[in-house]
Amino acid sequence: MMRLENICRDFQVGDQVVHALDHVDLEIKPGEYISIMGPSGSGKSTLLNILGLLDRPNLGTYWLNGADVSSLDDNALAEQRQQHIGFIFQAFHLIPRLSALENVELPLLLAGAPVAARRDRAREVLDSVGLATRLDHRPDQLSGGERQRVAIGRAIVMNPGLLLADEPTGNLDSRSSEDVIELIEQLNRNGISLMVVTHDPDIGRRAQRHISLRDGKIVTDDGRLSR
Protein backbone atom coordinates (compact mmCIF):
# COMPACT_ATOMS: atom_id res chain seq x y z
CA MET A 1 0.00 0.00 0.00
CA MET A 2 1.20 3.46 -0.95
CA ARG A 3 0.38 6.85 0.42
CA LEU A 4 1.46 10.27 -0.82
CA GLU A 5 1.09 13.13 1.65
CA ASN A 6 1.23 16.72 0.59
CA ILE A 7 3.61 16.00 -2.29
CA CYS A 8 5.07 18.95 -4.19
CA ARG A 9 7.40 18.71 -7.17
CA ASP A 10 8.69 21.90 -8.77
CA PHE A 11 10.75 22.33 -11.89
CA GLN A 12 12.75 25.35 -12.85
CA VAL A 13 12.02 26.20 -16.47
CA GLY A 14 13.96 29.30 -17.42
CA ASP A 15 12.96 32.00 -14.93
CA GLN A 16 9.72 30.28 -14.09
CA VAL A 17 9.02 27.70 -11.44
CA VAL A 18 6.56 25.10 -12.72
CA HIS A 19 4.56 23.26 -10.08
CA ALA A 20 4.36 19.84 -11.69
CA LEU A 21 2.75 18.48 -8.55
CA ASP A 22 1.07 20.88 -6.20
CA HIS A 23 0.27 19.50 -2.73
CA VAL A 24 -0.97 16.12 -3.86
CA ASP A 25 -2.42 13.52 -1.48
CA LEU A 26 -3.09 10.03 -2.75
CA GLU A 27 -3.57 6.59 -1.29
CA ILE A 28 -3.37 3.38 -3.30
CA LYS A 29 -4.71 0.18 -1.83
CA PRO A 30 -3.37 -3.22 -2.76
CA GLY A 31 -4.98 -4.59 -5.92
CA GLU A 32 -6.42 -1.28 -7.08
CA TYR A 33 -6.70 -0.46 -10.80
CA ILE A 34 -6.26 3.25 -11.33
CA SER A 35 -6.08 5.33 -14.48
CA ILE A 36 -4.53 8.76 -14.47
CA MET A 37 -5.66 11.18 -17.14
CA GLY A 38 -5.17 14.79 -17.90
CA PRO A 39 -3.78 17.12 -20.52
CA SER A 40 -0.09 17.37 -21.32
CA GLY A 41 1.80 19.12 -18.56
CA SER A 42 -0.82 18.33 -15.95
CA GLY A 43 1.72 16.39 -13.88
CA LYS A 44 0.56 12.83 -14.51
CA SER A 45 4.00 11.57 -15.57
CA THR A 46 5.60 13.33 -12.62
CA LEU A 47 3.14 11.64 -10.31
CA LEU A 48 3.99 8.28 -11.86
CA ASN A 49 7.74 8.93 -11.55
CA ILE A 50 7.41 9.90 -7.90
CA LEU A 51 5.38 6.78 -7.19
CA GLY A 52 8.01 4.76 -9.08
CA LEU A 53 10.83 6.31 -7.03
CA LEU A 54 12.48 7.58 -10.19
CA ASP A 55 11.94 11.14 -9.02
CA ARG A 56 11.91 12.74 -5.60
CA PRO A 57 9.41 15.25 -4.29
CA ASN A 58 10.52 18.71 -3.14
CA LEU A 59 8.06 18.47 -0.30
CA GLY A 60 5.85 15.87 1.29
CA THR A 61 6.10 12.27 2.38
CA TYR A 62 5.80 9.04 0.44
CA TRP A 63 4.86 5.98 2.48
CA LEU A 64 5.59 2.68 0.73
CA ASN A 65 4.41 -0.40 2.62
CA GLY A 66 4.50 1.54 5.86
CA ALA A 67 7.98 3.02 5.42
CA ASP A 68 8.86 6.60 4.58
CA VAL A 69 10.80 6.37 1.32
CA SER A 70 10.99 10.08 0.53
CA SER A 71 14.40 10.53 2.11
CA LEU A 72 16.17 7.32 1.06
CA ASP A 73 19.56 7.50 -0.61
CA ASP A 74 20.23 6.46 -4.18
CA ASN A 75 21.14 2.84 -3.46
CA ALA A 76 18.17 2.30 -1.18
CA LEU A 77 15.85 3.75 -3.81
CA ALA A 78 17.27 1.32 -6.36
CA GLU A 79 16.51 -1.55 -4.00
CA GLN A 80 12.98 -0.32 -3.37
CA ARG A 81 12.32 -0.04 -7.11
CA GLN A 82 13.73 -3.48 -7.63
CA GLN A 83 11.58 -5.11 -4.96
CA HIS A 84 8.30 -3.25 -5.12
CA ILE A 85 7.73 -1.60 -8.48
CA GLY A 86 7.34 -2.79 -12.04
CA PHE A 87 7.63 -0.31 -14.92
CA ILE A 88 6.02 -0.48 -18.33
CA PHE A 89 7.11 2.23 -20.76
CA GLN A 90 5.65 3.50 -23.98
CA ALA A 91 8.98 2.84 -25.75
CA PHE A 92 9.35 -0.68 -24.22
CA HIS A 93 13.01 -0.05 -23.29
CA LEU A 94 14.15 -3.55 -24.09
CA ILE A 95 17.88 -4.14 -24.52
CA PRO A 96 18.24 -4.88 -28.23
CA ARG A 97 21.17 -7.31 -28.03
CA LEU A 98 19.54 -9.55 -25.41
CA SER A 99 16.96 -12.27 -26.06
CA ALA A 100 13.43 -12.04 -24.65
CA LEU A 101 14.45 -14.42 -21.89
CA GLU A 102 17.55 -12.39 -21.00
CA ASN A 103 15.57 -9.15 -20.97
CA VAL A 104 13.10 -10.66 -18.54
CA GLU A 105 15.94 -12.04 -16.44
CA LEU A 106 17.60 -8.63 -16.06
CA PRO A 107 16.03 -7.54 -12.74
CA LEU A 108 16.93 -10.92 -11.22
CA LEU A 109 20.43 -10.67 -12.64
CA LEU A 110 20.90 -7.22 -11.11
CA ALA A 111 19.60 -8.61 -7.81
CA GLY A 112 22.31 -11.29 -7.96
CA ALA A 113 19.96 -14.28 -8.27
CA PRO A 114 21.58 -17.61 -9.17
CA VAL A 115 21.49 -18.52 -12.86
CA ALA A 116 19.30 -21.61 -12.82
CA ALA A 117 16.64 -20.13 -10.54
CA ARG A 118 16.28 -16.94 -12.51
CA ARG A 119 16.18 -18.75 -15.82
CA ASP A 120 13.28 -20.89 -14.57
CA ARG A 121 11.49 -17.86 -13.20
CA ALA A 122 11.94 -15.88 -16.44
CA ARG A 123 10.61 -18.83 -18.48
CA GLU A 124 7.60 -19.11 -16.24
CA VAL A 125 6.88 -15.39 -16.57
CA LEU A 126 7.30 -15.37 -20.37
CA ASP A 127 4.96 -18.34 -20.50
CA SER A 128 2.40 -16.41 -18.47
CA VAL A 129 2.52 -13.46 -20.90
CA GLY A 130 2.05 -15.83 -23.84
CA LEU A 131 5.59 -15.80 -25.23
CA ALA A 132 6.68 -19.33 -24.38
CA THR A 133 7.72 -19.85 -28.02
CA ARG A 134 9.65 -16.58 -28.30
CA LEU A 135 12.23 -17.06 -25.53
CA ASP A 136 15.31 -16.75 -27.72
CA HIS A 137 14.04 -13.99 -29.99
CA ARG A 138 15.71 -10.64 -29.82
CA PRO A 139 13.48 -7.54 -29.66
CA ASP A 140 14.01 -6.78 -33.37
CA GLN A 141 12.58 -10.21 -34.17
CA LEU A 142 9.37 -9.51 -32.23
CA SER A 143 6.26 -7.48 -33.07
CA GLY A 144 5.38 -4.35 -31.12
CA GLY A 145 2.79 -6.16 -29.05
CA GLU A 146 5.21 -8.97 -28.31
CA ARG A 147 7.90 -6.49 -27.27
CA GLN A 148 5.54 -4.84 -24.83
CA ARG A 149 4.64 -8.26 -23.43
CA VAL A 150 8.35 -8.98 -22.89
CA ALA A 151 8.56 -5.63 -21.07
CA ILE A 152 5.55 -6.61 -18.94
CA GLY A 153 7.24 -9.90 -18.17
CA ARG A 154 10.30 -7.98 -17.02
CA ALA A 155 8.12 -5.68 -14.89
CA ILE A 156 6.51 -8.53 -12.97
CA VAL A 157 9.42 -10.96 -12.73
CA MET A 158 10.30 -9.69 -9.22
CA ASN A 159 6.67 -9.97 -8.03
CA PRO A 160 6.25 -6.27 -7.28
CA GLY A 161 3.21 -4.85 -5.52
CA LEU A 162 2.71 -2.00 -7.94
CA LEU A 163 2.74 -1.95 -11.72
CA LEU A 164 3.22 1.49 -13.29
CA ALA A 165 2.37 1.83 -16.96
CA ASP A 166 3.16 5.08 -18.75
CA GLU A 167 1.19 5.18 -22.02
CA PRO A 168 1.70 1.42 -22.41
CA THR A 169 -0.14 1.32 -25.73
CA GLY A 170 1.24 4.55 -27.16
CA ASN A 171 3.39 2.76 -29.73
CA LEU A 172 0.98 -0.07 -30.55
CA ASP A 173 -1.81 -0.67 -33.05
CA SER A 174 -5.32 -1.17 -31.68
CA ARG A 175 -5.26 -4.97 -31.68
CA SER A 176 -1.95 -5.17 -29.84
CA SER A 177 -3.16 -2.44 -27.51
CA GLU A 178 -6.18 -4.51 -26.60
CA ASP A 179 -3.96 -7.55 -25.96
CA VAL A 180 -1.59 -5.60 -23.77
CA ILE A 181 -4.34 -3.93 -21.75
CA GLU A 182 -6.05 -7.27 -21.23
CA LEU A 183 -2.78 -8.77 -20.08
CA ILE A 184 -2.10 -6.12 -17.45
CA GLU A 185 -5.74 -6.24 -16.32
CA GLN A 186 -5.32 -9.97 -15.90
CA LEU A 187 -2.27 -9.34 -13.74
CA ASN A 188 -4.29 -6.82 -11.72
CA ARG A 189 -7.02 -9.39 -11.15
CA ASN A 190 -4.31 -11.65 -9.76
CA GLY A 191 -3.58 -9.06 -7.09
CA ILE A 192 -1.04 -6.50 -8.31
CA SER A 193 -1.91 -2.81 -7.99
CA LEU A 194 -2.04 -1.24 -11.44
CA MET A 195 -1.71 2.39 -12.37
CA VAL A 196 -2.00 3.42 -15.99
CA VAL A 197 -1.21 6.87 -17.30
CA THR A 198 -2.94 7.42 -20.61
CA HIS A 199 -4.30 9.94 -23.06
CA ASP A 200 -6.76 7.42 -24.43
CA PRO A 201 -10.18 7.82 -22.76
CA ASP A 202 -11.22 4.32 -23.84
CA ILE A 203 -8.36 2.83 -21.91
CA GLY A 204 -8.75 5.24 -19.02
CA ARG A 205 -12.41 4.29 -18.59
CA ARG A 206 -11.60 0.61 -18.05
CA ALA A 207 -9.99 1.27 -14.64
CA GLN A 208 -11.96 0.95 -11.42
CA ARG A 209 -10.72 4.27 -10.16
CA HIS A 210 -10.19 7.33 -12.31
CA ILE A 211 -7.97 10.21 -11.35
CA SER A 212 -7.63 13.30 -13.47
CA LEU A 213 -4.99 15.94 -12.99
CA ARG A 214 -4.76 19.53 -14.03
CA ASP A 215 -1.91 21.95 -13.28
CA GLY A 216 -0.37 19.58 -10.76
CA LYS A 217 -3.53 19.09 -8.74
CA ILE A 218 -5.90 16.16 -8.55
CA VAL A 219 -9.20 17.54 -9.86
CA THR A 220 -11.30 14.39 -9.85
CA ASP A 221 -10.78 11.08 -8.06
CA ASP A 222 -13.80 8.80 -8.00
CA GLY A 223 -12.00 6.38 -5.70
CA ARG A 224 -11.99 8.98 -2.98
CA LEU A 225 -15.62 9.83 -3.63
CA SER A 226 -16.71 6.22 -3.37
CA ARG A 227 -15.16 5.77 0.02
Binding site: G52, N75, H93, P107, L109
Partner: protein, 399 residues
Protein backbone atom coordinates in the same frame (compact mmCIF):
# COMPACT_ATOMS: atom_id res chain seq x y z
CA UNK B 1 25.20 -8.68 -9.33
CA UNK B 2 27.36 -11.78 -9.88
CA UNK B 3 30.80 -11.38 -11.42
CA UNK B 4 30.05 -13.85 -14.19
CA UNK B 5 26.95 -11.84 -15.07
CA UNK B 6 29.00 -8.64 -15.27
CA UNK B 7 31.43 -10.41 -17.60
CA UNK B 8 28.64 -11.92 -19.69
CA UNK B 9 26.78 -8.65 -19.99
CA UNK B 10 29.87 -6.70 -21.03
CA UNK B 11 30.86 -9.43 -23.48
CA UNK B 12 27.41 -9.20 -25.04
CA UNK B 13 27.78 -5.43 -25.35
CA UNK B 14 31.18 -5.78 -26.99
CA UNK B 15 29.95 -8.49 -29.35
CA UNK B 16 26.86 -6.50 -30.32
CA UNK B 17 29.14 -4.01 -32.08
CA UNK B 18 31.64 -6.41 -33.60
CA UNK B 19 33.20 -4.11 -36.16
CA UNK B 20 33.48 -1.16 -33.85
CA UNK B 21 34.86 -3.25 -30.97
CA UNK B 22 37.37 -4.94 -33.25
CA UNK B 23 38.67 -1.64 -34.59
CA UNK B 24 38.92 -0.16 -31.11
CA UNK B 25 40.72 -3.21 -29.79
CA UNK B 26 42.96 -3.12 -32.86
CA UNK B 27 44.19 0.34 -31.92
CA UNK B 28 45.49 -0.93 -28.62
CA UNK B 29 46.53 -4.23 -30.19
CA UNK B 30 48.91 -2.46 -32.54
CA UNK B 31 50.47 -0.79 -29.52
CA UNK B 32 50.96 -4.12 -27.80
CA UNK B 33 52.39 -5.63 -30.99
CA UNK B 34 54.83 -2.74 -31.19
CA UNK B 35 55.92 -3.24 -27.59
CA UNK B 36 56.40 -6.98 -28.09
CA UNK B 37 58.36 -6.53 -31.31
CA UNK B 38 60.53 -3.67 -30.13
CA UNK B 39 61.37 -5.24 -26.80
CA UNK B 40 62.02 -8.59 -28.45
CA UNK B 41 64.53 -7.01 -30.77
CA UNK B 42 66.07 -5.14 -27.84
CA UNK B 43 66.35 -8.32 -25.78
CA UNK B 44 67.68 -10.18 -28.80
CA UNK B 45 70.44 -7.67 -29.36
CA UNK B 46 71.26 -7.79 -25.67
CA UNK B 47 71.56 -11.56 -25.70
CA UNK B 48 73.59 -11.49 -28.91
CA UNK B 49 76.11 -9.04 -27.53
CA UNK B 50 76.43 -10.79 -24.19
CA UNK B 51 76.93 -14.11 -25.96
CA UNK B 52 79.58 -12.56 -28.16
CA UNK B 53 81.44 -11.25 -25.17
CA UNK B 54 81.20 -14.26 -22.97
CA UNK B 55 81.87 -16.97 -25.53
CA UNK B 56 85.49 -17.13 -24.38
CA UNK B 57 84.63 -17.20 -20.71
CA UNK B 58 83.96 -14.44 -18.25
CA UNK B 59 87.22 -14.73 -16.32
CA UNK B 60 89.31 -12.66 -18.69
CA UNK B 61 90.84 -9.25 -18.25
CA UNK B 62 92.26 -7.04 -20.97
CA UNK B 63 95.16 -4.67 -20.38
CA UNK B 64 95.48 -1.90 -22.95
CA UNK B 65 98.05 0.86 -23.32
CA UNK B 66 97.03 4.40 -22.38
CA UNK B 67 94.93 5.55 -19.47
CA UNK B 68 91.29 5.87 -20.36
CA UNK B 69 88.66 7.07 -17.99
CA UNK B 70 85.94 5.47 -20.06
CA UNK B 71 85.91 1.98 -21.36
CA UNK B 72 86.19 2.66 -25.04
CA UNK B 73 88.56 0.64 -27.16
CA UNK B 74 91.71 2.73 -27.43
CA UNK B 75 92.73 3.05 -31.04
CA UNK B 76 96.09 4.78 -30.96
CA UNK B 77 98.89 5.12 -28.51
CA UNK B 78 99.65 8.48 -26.94
CA UNK B 79 103.24 9.74 -27.07
CA UNK B 80 103.66 10.02 -23.34
CA UNK B 81 102.62 6.46 -22.87
CA UNK B 82 105.03 3.61 -22.60
CA UNK B 83 103.94 0.83 -24.89
CA UNK B 84 102.94 -2.51 -23.50
CA UNK B 85 105.81 -4.81 -24.23
CA UNK B 86 106.25 -8.54 -24.54
CA UNK B 87 108.15 -8.41 -21.24
CA UNK B 88 105.11 -6.80 -19.62
CA UNK B 89 103.03 -9.75 -20.79
CA UNK B 90 105.66 -12.14 -19.46
CA UNK B 91 105.80 -10.33 -16.12
CA UNK B 92 102.03 -10.46 -15.68
CA UNK B 93 102.19 -14.25 -15.61
CA UNK B 94 103.51 -13.84 -12.09
CA UNK B 95 100.53 -11.81 -10.91
CA UNK B 96 98.36 -13.62 -8.34
CA UNK B 97 95.64 -15.95 -9.72
CA UNK B 98 96.76 -15.35 -13.33
CA UNK B 99 96.66 -18.54 -15.39
CA UNK B 100 97.66 -17.16 -18.75
CA UNK B 101 98.97 -13.84 -19.97
CA UNK B 102 98.71 -13.50 -23.72
CA UNK B 103 100.24 -10.61 -25.67
CA UNK B 104 98.24 -9.63 -28.73
CA UNK B 105 98.67 -7.46 -31.81
CA UNK B 106 96.22 -7.61 -34.63
CA UNK B 107 95.83 -6.30 -38.12
CA UNK B 108 95.22 -7.38 -41.65
CA UNK B 109 97.69 -8.71 -44.19
CA UNK B 110 97.72 -10.68 -47.39
CA UNK B 111 98.63 -14.33 -47.23
CA UNK B 112 100.14 -16.15 -50.19
CA UNK B 113 100.29 -19.90 -50.46
CA UNK B 114 100.53 -22.27 -53.43
CA UNK B 115 100.01 -19.41 -55.86
CA UNK B 116 96.86 -18.18 -54.13
CA UNK B 117 96.53 -14.97 -52.23
CA UNK B 118 94.00 -13.86 -49.64
CA UNK B 119 93.70 -10.85 -47.35
CA UNK B 120 92.94 -12.00 -43.83
CA UNK B 121 92.98 -10.92 -40.20
CA UNK B 122 96.30 -11.50 -38.55
CA UNK B 123 96.38 -12.21 -34.83
CA UNK B 124 99.88 -12.02 -33.47
CA UNK B 125 99.61 -13.67 -30.09
CA UNK B 126 101.46 -15.53 -27.42
CA UNK B 127 101.68 -19.34 -27.48
CA UNK B 128 99.04 -19.75 -24.73
CA UNK B 129 96.36 -18.00 -26.76
CA UNK B 130 94.62 -21.27 -27.65
CA UNK B 131 94.49 -22.44 -24.05
CA UNK B 132 93.40 -19.07 -22.69
CA UNK B 133 90.45 -18.78 -25.07
CA UNK B 134 89.76 -22.47 -25.52
CA UNK B 135 90.52 -22.55 -29.22
CA UNK B 136 91.45 -25.94 -30.58
CA UNK B 137 93.67 -27.01 -33.45
CA UNK B 138 92.36 -29.58 -35.89
CA UNK B 139 95.76 -30.40 -37.39
CA UNK B 140 99.31 -29.94 -36.20
CA UNK B 141 99.72 -27.72 -33.17
CA UNK B 142 99.33 -24.12 -32.08
CA UNK B 143 102.26 -21.66 -31.98
CA UNK B 144 105.24 -23.29 -30.21
CA UNK B 145 106.52 -22.10 -26.87
CA UNK B 146 109.54 -20.26 -28.35
CA UNK B 147 111.61 -17.43 -27.01
CA UNK B 148 109.17 -14.48 -26.81
CA UNK B 149 111.55 -12.01 -28.41
CA UNK B 150 112.90 -14.25 -31.16
CA UNK B 151 110.32 -16.83 -32.10
CA UNK B 152 110.56 -19.01 -35.15
CA UNK B 153 108.58 -17.76 -38.14
CA UNK B 154 105.63 -20.13 -37.92
CA UNK B 155 101.94 -19.62 -38.56
CA UNK B 156 98.65 -21.31 -37.70
CA UNK B 157 95.79 -21.02 -40.20
CA UNK B 158 92.15 -20.39 -39.35
CA UNK B 159 89.69 -22.94 -40.73
CA UNK B 160 88.48 -20.71 -43.52
CA UNK B 161 91.92 -19.50 -44.56
CA UNK B 162 93.00 -23.12 -44.76
CA UNK B 163 90.09 -24.25 -46.90
CA UNK B 164 90.35 -21.24 -49.20
CA UNK B 165 94.08 -21.63 -49.75
CA UNK B 166 94.54 -25.39 -49.61
CA UNK B 167 91.12 -26.93 -50.16
CA UNK B 168 91.69 -30.21 -48.34
CA UNK B 169 95.41 -30.66 -49.02
CA UNK B 170 97.92 -31.04 -46.19
CA UNK B 171 99.31 -27.61 -45.31
CA UNK B 172 101.68 -28.66 -42.54
CA UNK B 173 105.27 -27.52 -43.04
CA UNK B 174 104.23 -25.64 -46.17
CA UNK B 175 105.93 -22.31 -46.73
CA UNK B 176 103.64 -19.29 -46.99
CA UNK B 177 104.13 -15.56 -47.15
CA UNK B 178 102.38 -13.18 -44.81
CA UNK B 179 102.78 -9.51 -45.74
CA UNK B 180 105.98 -10.42 -47.59
CA UNK B 181 107.68 -12.44 -44.82
CA UNK B 182 108.09 -16.18 -44.99
CA UNK B 183 106.38 -18.45 -42.48
CA UNK B 184 106.06 -22.17 -42.02
CA UNK B 185 102.57 -23.58 -41.34
CA UNK B 186 102.46 -25.59 -38.13
CA UNK B 187 98.76 -25.96 -37.52
CA UNK B 188 95.15 -25.44 -38.58
CA UNK B 189 92.40 -24.27 -36.20
CA UNK B 190 88.95 -25.74 -35.76
CA UNK B 191 86.12 -23.55 -37.08
CA UNK B 192 85.17 -20.99 -34.45
CA UNK B 193 82.63 -18.59 -36.00
CA UNK B 194 82.22 -14.87 -35.55
CA UNK B 195 82.90 -12.48 -32.78
CA UNK B 196 81.21 -9.10 -33.22
CA UNK B 197 81.43 -9.42 -36.97
CA UNK B 198 85.06 -10.54 -37.12
CA UNK B 199 85.39 -13.91 -38.80
CA UNK B 200 87.72 -15.80 -36.47
CA UNK B 201 88.15 -18.49 -39.09
CA UNK B 202 89.41 -16.03 -41.67
CA UNK B 203 92.41 -15.39 -39.48
CA UNK B 204 96.06 -16.34 -39.39
CA UNK B 205 97.90 -16.65 -36.06
CA UNK B 206 101.58 -15.75 -35.82
CA UNK B 207 103.88 -15.14 -32.83
CA UNK B 208 103.43 -11.77 -31.12
CA UNK B 209 107.01 -10.61 -31.83
CA UNK B 210 106.52 -11.34 -35.54
CA UNK B 211 103.33 -9.31 -35.44
CA UNK B 212 105.12 -6.31 -33.92
CA UNK B 213 107.58 -6.45 -36.80
CA UNK B 214 104.91 -7.07 -39.41
CA UNK B 215 102.80 -4.11 -38.34
CA UNK B 216 105.79 -1.98 -37.45
CA UNK B 217 104.67 -1.40 -33.91
CA UNK B 218 106.56 -0.78 -30.73
CA UNK B 219 103.94 -2.07 -28.39
CA UNK B 220 101.12 -4.53 -28.07
CA UNK B 221 97.48 -3.72 -28.67
CA UNK B 222 96.48 -5.66 -25.68
CA UNK B 223 97.51 -8.19 -23.11
CA UNK B 224 94.77 -10.71 -22.41
CA UNK B 225 94.77 -12.23 -18.96
CA UNK B 226 92.96 -15.40 -18.03
CA UNK B 227 92.58 -15.79 -14.26
CA UNK B 228 91.35 -18.44 -11.93
CA UNK B 229 87.58 -18.11 -11.98
CA UNK B 230 87.35 -18.67 -8.23
CA UNK B 231 89.57 -15.64 -7.57
CA UNK B 232 88.13 -12.27 -6.56
CA UNK B 233 88.37 -9.94 -9.57
CA UNK B 234 89.45 -6.98 -7.46
CA UNK B 235 92.51 -8.82 -6.19
CA UNK B 236 93.44 -10.00 -9.67
CA UNK B 237 93.22 -6.44 -10.98
CA UNK B 238 95.19 -5.11 -8.03
CA UNK B 239 97.95 -7.65 -8.69
CA UNK B 240 98.17 -6.71 -12.36
CA UNK B 241 98.22 -3.05 -11.51
CA UNK B 242 101.00 -3.47 -8.97
CA UNK B 243 103.28 -5.22 -11.45
CA UNK B 244 102.65 -2.78 -14.29
CA UNK B 245 103.04 0.27 -12.04
CA UNK B 246 106.40 -1.04 -10.92
CA UNK B 247 107.50 -1.59 -14.51
CA UNK B 248 106.09 1.62 -16.03
CA UNK B 249 106.46 4.02 -13.13
CA UNK B 250 102.97 5.42 -13.73
CA UNK B 251 99.49 4.36 -14.62
CA UNK B 252 99.71 4.57 -18.41
CA UNK B 253 97.54 1.54 -19.04
CA UNK B 254 93.92 0.54 -18.74
CA UNK B 255 92.61 -2.64 -17.18
CA UNK B 256 89.22 -3.76 -18.42
CA UNK B 257 87.57 -6.75 -16.84
CA UNK B 258 84.80 -8.56 -18.57
CA UNK B 259 82.21 -7.67 -15.97
CA UNK B 260 82.87 -3.94 -16.40
CA UNK B 261 82.54 -4.33 -20.13
CA UNK B 262 79.28 -6.21 -19.76
CA UNK B 263 78.00 -3.69 -17.25
CA UNK B 264 78.64 -0.79 -19.58
CA UNK B 265 77.12 -2.63 -22.51
CA UNK B 266 74.23 -3.74 -20.35
CA UNK B 267 73.44 -0.21 -19.25
CA UNK B 268 73.58 1.06 -22.84
CA UNK B 269 71.27 -1.72 -23.96
CA UNK B 270 69.06 -1.10 -20.94
CA UNK B 271 68.62 2.54 -21.95
CA UNK B 272 67.93 1.41 -25.50
CA UNK B 273 65.33 -1.12 -24.41
CA UNK B 274 63.71 1.41 -22.14
CA UNK B 275 63.53 3.96 -24.95
CA UNK B 276 61.97 1.32 -27.15
CA UNK B 277 59.46 0.49 -24.45
CA UNK B 278 58.55 4.18 -24.20
CA UNK B 279 57.92 4.26 -27.95
CA UNK B 280 55.67 1.25 -27.60
CA UNK B 281 54.02 2.94 -24.64
CA UNK B 282 53.09 5.89 -26.82
CA UNK B 283 51.29 3.59 -29.23
CA UNK B 284 49.53 2.00 -26.25
CA UNK B 285 48.46 5.46 -25.15
CA UNK B 286 46.98 6.17 -28.58
CA UNK B 287 45.06 2.91 -28.29
CA UNK B 288 43.81 4.05 -24.89
CA UNK B 289 42.49 7.27 -26.39
CA UNK B 290 40.57 5.14 -28.91
CA UNK B 291 38.95 3.17 -26.12
CA UNK B 292 38.09 6.34 -24.25
CA UNK B 293 36.42 7.75 -27.36
CA UNK B 294 34.39 4.64 -28.07
CA UNK B 295 33.29 4.31 -24.45
CA UNK B 296 32.19 7.94 -24.40
CA UNK B 297 30.12 7.30 -27.52
CA UNK B 298 28.75 4.06 -26.07
CA UNK B 299 27.58 5.80 -22.90
CA UNK B 300 25.81 8.46 -24.96
CA UNK B 301 24.19 5.91 -27.25
CA UNK B 302 23.04 3.68 -24.44
CA UNK B 303 21.82 6.39 -22.07
CA UNK B 304 18.20 5.12 -22.22
CA UNK B 305 19.49 1.64 -21.46
CA UNK B 306 21.30 3.01 -18.42
CA UNK B 307 18.04 4.65 -17.34
CA UNK B 308 16.20 1.38 -17.73
CA UNK B 309 18.79 -0.57 -15.74
CA UNK B 310 18.56 1.99 -12.96
CA UNK B 311 14.73 1.80 -13.03
CA UNK B 312 14.75 -1.97 -12.59
CA UNK B 313 17.13 -1.88 -9.66
CA UNK B 314 20.70 -1.31 -10.87
CA UNK B 315 22.76 0.79 -8.49
CA UNK B 316 25.30 3.34 -9.67
CA UNK B 317 28.03 0.89 -8.79
CA UNK B 318 26.53 -1.69 -11.18
CA UNK B 319 26.51 0.79 -14.06
CA UNK B 320 30.12 1.70 -13.26
CA UNK B 321 31.11 -1.98 -13.25
CA UNK B 322 29.41 -2.70 -16.56
CA UNK B 323 31.02 0.14 -18.47
CA UNK B 324 34.42 -0.25 -16.84
CA UNK B 325 34.20 -3.94 -17.60
CA UNK B 326 33.49 -3.16 -21.22
CA UNK B 327 36.52 -0.87 -21.51
CA UNK B 328 38.78 -3.43 -19.84
CA UNK B 329 37.43 -6.20 -22.03
CA UNK B 330 38.11 -4.18 -25.18
CA UNK B 331 41.62 -3.41 -23.95
CA UNK B 332 42.29 -6.98 -22.87
CA UNK B 333 41.11 -8.41 -26.19
CA UNK B 334 43.20 -5.89 -28.09
CA UNK B 335 46.14 -6.73 -25.86
CA UNK B 336 45.85 -10.46 -26.44
CA UNK B 337 45.42 -10.00 -30.18
CA UNK B 338 48.45 -7.70 -30.24
CA UNK B 339 50.47 -10.22 -28.22
CA UNK B 340 49.62 -13.06 -30.57
CA UNK B 341 50.48 -11.00 -33.65
CA UNK B 342 53.71 -9.78 -32.06
CA UNK B 343 54.79 -13.25 -30.95
CA UNK B 344 53.83 -14.58 -34.37
CA UNK B 345 56.02 -12.03 -36.12
CA UNK B 346 58.94 -12.80 -33.80
CA UNK B 347 58.51 -16.51 -34.55
CA UNK B 348 58.40 -15.87 -38.30
CA UNK B 349 61.51 -13.69 -38.06
CA UNK B 350 63.24 -16.49 -36.16
CA UNK B 351 62.41 -18.98 -38.88
CA UNK B 352 63.13 -16.81 -41.89
CA UNK B 353 66.07 -14.69 -40.73
CA UNK B 354 67.86 -16.72 -38.05
CA UNK B 355 70.68 -14.18 -37.94
CA UNK B 356 68.29 -11.42 -36.83
CA UNK B 357 68.56 -11.28 -33.08
CA UNK B 358 64.98 -11.28 -31.76
CA UNK B 359 64.35 -12.70 -28.34
CA UNK B 360 60.95 -12.65 -26.66
CA UNK B 361 61.21 -10.74 -23.41
CA UNK B 362 58.59 -12.40 -21.17
CA UNK B 363 58.70 -9.58 -18.64
CA UNK B 364 57.74 -7.06 -21.29
CA UNK B 365 55.11 -9.37 -22.74
CA UNK B 366 53.36 -9.68 -19.37
CA UNK B 367 53.92 -5.99 -18.76
CA UNK B 368 52.40 -5.04 -22.13
CA UNK B 369 49.22 -7.01 -21.42
CA UNK B 370 49.00 -5.62 -17.89
CA UNK B 371 49.49 -2.10 -19.16
CA UNK B 372 46.86 -2.70 -21.86
CA UNK B 373 44.33 -3.68 -19.19
CA UNK B 374 45.32 -0.75 -16.99
CA UNK B 375 44.96 1.59 -19.96
CA UNK B 376 41.49 0.11 -20.51
CA UNK B 377 40.65 0.84 -16.89
CA UNK B 378 41.92 4.41 -17.08
CA UNK B 379 40.25 5.04 -20.44
CA UNK B 380 37.01 3.60 -19.09
CA UNK B 381 36.90 5.39 -15.76
CA UNK B 382 35.64 8.73 -17.00
CA UNK B 383 32.93 7.45 -19.38
CA UNK B 384 31.82 4.80 -16.85
CA UNK B 385 31.71 7.38 -14.11
CA UNK B 386 29.62 9.63 -16.30
CA UNK B 387 27.27 6.73 -17.00
CA UNK B 388 26.92 5.96 -13.31
CA UNK B 389 26.27 9.60 -12.46
CA UNK B 390 23.26 9.81 -14.80
CA UNK B 391 19.91 10.37 -13.08
CA UNK B 392 17.64 7.44 -13.92
CA UNK B 393 14.76 9.61 -15.04
CA UNK B 394 16.89 11.88 -17.22
CA UNK B 395 18.54 8.85 -18.78
CA UNK B 396 15.22 7.15 -19.52
CA UNK B 397 13.88 10.20 -21.24
CA UNK B 398 16.93 10.65 -23.48
CA UNK B 399 16.24 9.64 -27.03
Amino acid sequence: MLLRDVIRFTAQSVLAQRMRSALTALGLGIGVTAVVLLTSIGAGINLYIVEQFTQFGTNTIAVQPGKASTFGISAGVLNSVRPLSLQDAEALKRAPYVLHSVPAVSGAASVKARGRERTVNVFAVGPQFDQAFKFHVSRGSFLPNDDLERPRAVAVLGARVYSELYGSANPLNDRIRIGGDRYRVVGVMEPKGDMLGIDLDDTVYIPAASGLALFNREGLHEIDILYDERAPVDEVIAGIKRILLARHGGEDFTIIDQQQMLDVLGSIIGVLTFGIAVLGGISLLVGGVGIFTIMTIAVRERTPEIGLLRAIGAKRRHILQLFLGEAVLLAGLGGIAGLLVGLGIVAVVHLTIPAMPAQIAPVYVVLAETIAVIIGLIAGVLPAHRAAALEPLEALRTE
